[in-house]
C-alpha cells in the first residue's frame, strides 16, 4: 500500500459499525427461534406450515411489490422474514393457510411497501396483518386448540386464559408453571413465556432493542392490573403470561420505525402501550388488547417524538425567548 492511500482523508463518519439492518433482523430471527421451537412442541408441526406460509408470502410479496414499483430489491435485509414470523406468531395454529397468506400480503404490500418500504412503515406491519385478519375472519382467528393434544390426533377447541378470566371461569385455568412453559391455548408464538423472555434478553444483550420499552410497558401494565385486581399477584401473573403481552412488549412495540428514538419518548410510548392494553383487557369487549394498543401508540409516535425532542445545550425555548424579548 502506498503512502498516499494511507493518508487518504474521507468524509465523516470515520468510525464505522458493523451493525446493519440485515444483522439486526438476523438477531431478531435468532431471538424468535426458541419461541418457534416451543410452539412446535406445544401445537404440532402445523406451526411450521403456518410460519413457512407467512414467511414465504411475505418475501414474495416484498420482491414483487418492489419490482412493480421499480425500486431496488430489499428482500436481502430479512425484514420481510421477520414480519412473516411475527405474523405467524400472532395467528392460531388452526388458521387456514390462505388466510395466513392474505395477512402477510397486507402486512408487506399495504403497510410497508406502499408507505416506502423498510423504515417507512407508520405502524407495525405484522400487527396490521393480524388485525385485518381478526376483523375479517373472526371465527377462524379465535379458534383455539388445546395444547399438546396434537400428538393424539384430536383437536379440541378451548378458550384462552384471558378469555377464561374475562368470563370468570378461573377454576379452568392451568397452573402457573404450565403458563410459564406455554402449555395453554393461544396464538402459536405467544404462549411460551420463558422462550419469549429468553429471546427478549438476547435482543437486549445484543443491544438490538433497549430494555426501556418492554420494562416500562410491562411495568405500567402490572401496576394498573395490580390495582384493578386488588393486589392479587396470581391474577397479575396470569394477565402477564396469558396473552400476547410478552411477545408484544419485546418484539412488536420495539420496532425501530414505529417507536420513539429518545429515552423520554420511549417511556411515554411504553406507558401509553401499557395503559391501553390494561384498559382494553379490563373494560373492553375483547379479551386481548396488545395489538390494538401497540398500533394506537405507533400512530401517536410522531407526536410523542415532537414533544420530547431534547433541547440542545445552551438554547432558549422559543416561547421564553419571545417573552424575554417582549419585556
Amino acid at each position: 500500500m502506498s503512502v498516499e492511500n494511507k493518508l487518504n482523508i474521507s468524509a465523516s463518519p470515520h468510525v464505522r459499525s458493523k451493525t446493519s439492518s440485515k444483522r439486526i433482523m438476523l438477531d431478531v430471527i435468532i431471538a424468535l427461534v426458541p419461541a418457534l421451537i416451543a410452539a412446535v412442541f406445544i401445537f404440532g408441526y402445523r406451526v411450521l406450515a403456518v410460519t413457512a406460509t407467512t414467511v414465504l408470502t411475505a418475501v414474495i410479496a416484498e420482491y414483487l411489490s418492489r419490482k412493480a414499483m421499480k425500486r431496488h430489491n430489499t428482500i436481502g435485509d430479512f425484514s420481510a422474514v421477520v414480519t412473516g414470523v411475527l405474523l405467524a406468531f400472532n395467528l392460531p395454529v388452526t388458521i387456514p393457510l390462505w388466510m395466513a397468506a392474505i395477512g402477510s400480503v397486507i402486512a408487506i404490500v399495504v403497510v410497508k411497501q406502499m408507505f416506502g418500504g423498510i423504515g417507512q412503515n407508520f405502524v407495525n406491519p405484522a400487527l396490521i396483518g393480524r388485525i385485518v385478519l381478526l376483523s375479517s375472519f373472526s371465527t377462524d382467528m379465535t379458534c383455539w386448540t388445546e395444547p399438546l393434544k396434537w400428538r393424539t390426533g384430536d383437536a379440541v377447541t378451548t378458550a384462552t386464559p384471558l378469555a377464561l378470566m374475562a368470563a370468570d371461569k378461573k377454576d379452568q385455568l392451568t397452573g402457573l408453571a404450565d403458563m410459564l412453559l406455554g402449555v395453554r391455548a393461544g396464538c402459536l408464538g405467544e404462549t411460551c413465556a420463558i422462550a419469549l423472555i429468553i429471546g427478549g434478553v438476547y435482543l437486549i444483550i445484543r443491544k438490538v432493542i433497549s430494555p426501556v420499552i418492554p420494562l416500562v410497558y410491562i411495568g405500567t401494565f402490572s401496576v394498573i392490573t395490580l390495582i384493578a385486581g386488588n393486589g392479587d399477584f396470581t391474577y397479575l401473573a396470569y394477565q402477564i403470561m396469558g396473552g400476547g403481552l410478552l411477545l408484544g412488549a419485546f418484539f412488536m412495540a420495539t420496532d425501530y420505525a414505529t417507536c420513539p428514538i429518545n429515552f423520554k419518548g420511549k417511556i411515554v410510548y411504553a406507558i401509553g402501550c401499557g395503559l391501553l392494553t390494561a384498559v382494553i383487557r379490563l373494560f373492553g369487549s375483547l379479551p386481548e388488547g396488545v395489538s390494538f394498543s401497540i398500533i394506537l401508540m405507533n400512530i401517536l409516535t410522531p407526536h410523542i417524538e415532537s414533544l420530547t425532542t431534547p433541547k440542545p445545550f445552551g438554547t432558549v425555548k422559543e416561547k421564553k425567548a419571545k417573552k424575554e424579548a417582549a419585556e
Binding site: P96, W98, M99, V132, S135, S136, F137, S138
Partner: protein, 253 residues
Amino acid sequence: MAEKRSMGKEFTKGFISENPVLRLVLGTCPTLAVTTSVVNAIGMGIAATIVLIGSNIVISALRKIIPSKVRIPAFVVVIASFVTIVQMLVKAFVPVLDESLGVYLPLIVVNCIILGRAEAFASKNPVLVSAVDGLGMGLGFTTALLCMSSIREIIGAGTFLAGTQSLLALFGENVLGGFDGFTLISGNGALKPMVILILAPGGFFVFGMLMACVNKLAEKKGKPKAELKGCSSCPMAATCSLECKNDIKEGNV
C-alpha cells in the same frame, strides 16, 4: 369557463378526468357509507344524478336573478326541494332502498358534488350545457360508487347485486324471475368473505386504491394528478379569515 368546450366533452369529463369522487375528492361521506352493497350504490347514484340534473337546470335558469351575496342559501333551497321530491318518491316506490340508505338520502342536500357543480358550473353556464354537465357528473359519481361497491361487496360479503329485488320493486313484484343477486362466496366452503372490506377501514382502503388507479389513468392521458393544493385552490380563499402564510410567502395570493 373561459374556453368553450363541446357538449360531448362536458358530458364525458365527469367519468375520468373530472370524476367528482375519485378526482375532485367531493362527496366522500356518502361514497364511503353507501358502497357496502352494489344495490345501495346504484340507488344512491340514481338519486344524486336526478337531484344534480334538476338543480343544475333550475340554478342555471335563475343564475341572472340570484344575487351573488346570497347565492349559497339560494342554491341550497333549490337543491333541498329536489332532494325532498326524490326522497318522497323513493319512500313511496322503493321503501326498502329508503331504509337501507337511511340518513344518506336526505343528506344529498349537503352533498359537495351538487353544491360544487351549482357554484362552479351551473351558475355560470346556460341551461342545456348545465343539464349535460349534471348528467355527466351524476353518472360519473354513479360509476365511481359502482366500482367501489362491486369490490367491497364481492370480497367483503361474497355476494354481487344482493337485494336487487328491493330496487326492482319499482316495476312490480318478482321482475326478472325474482332475481336477487349472486352468491359468490357462501362461507361454508374453503373460501370465506373478507368482512373488513364491508367495514369502514376497508372502505377507506378501496377508496384510496381506486383514487390511485384513476390518477394513473389520468396521468397516462397527460392530465395533472388530483391533489390538495392548499389555500390557492380553495373557493373560500378570498373571504377566509385564516392567514395563508405559505401562500403569501410564495406570492400565490
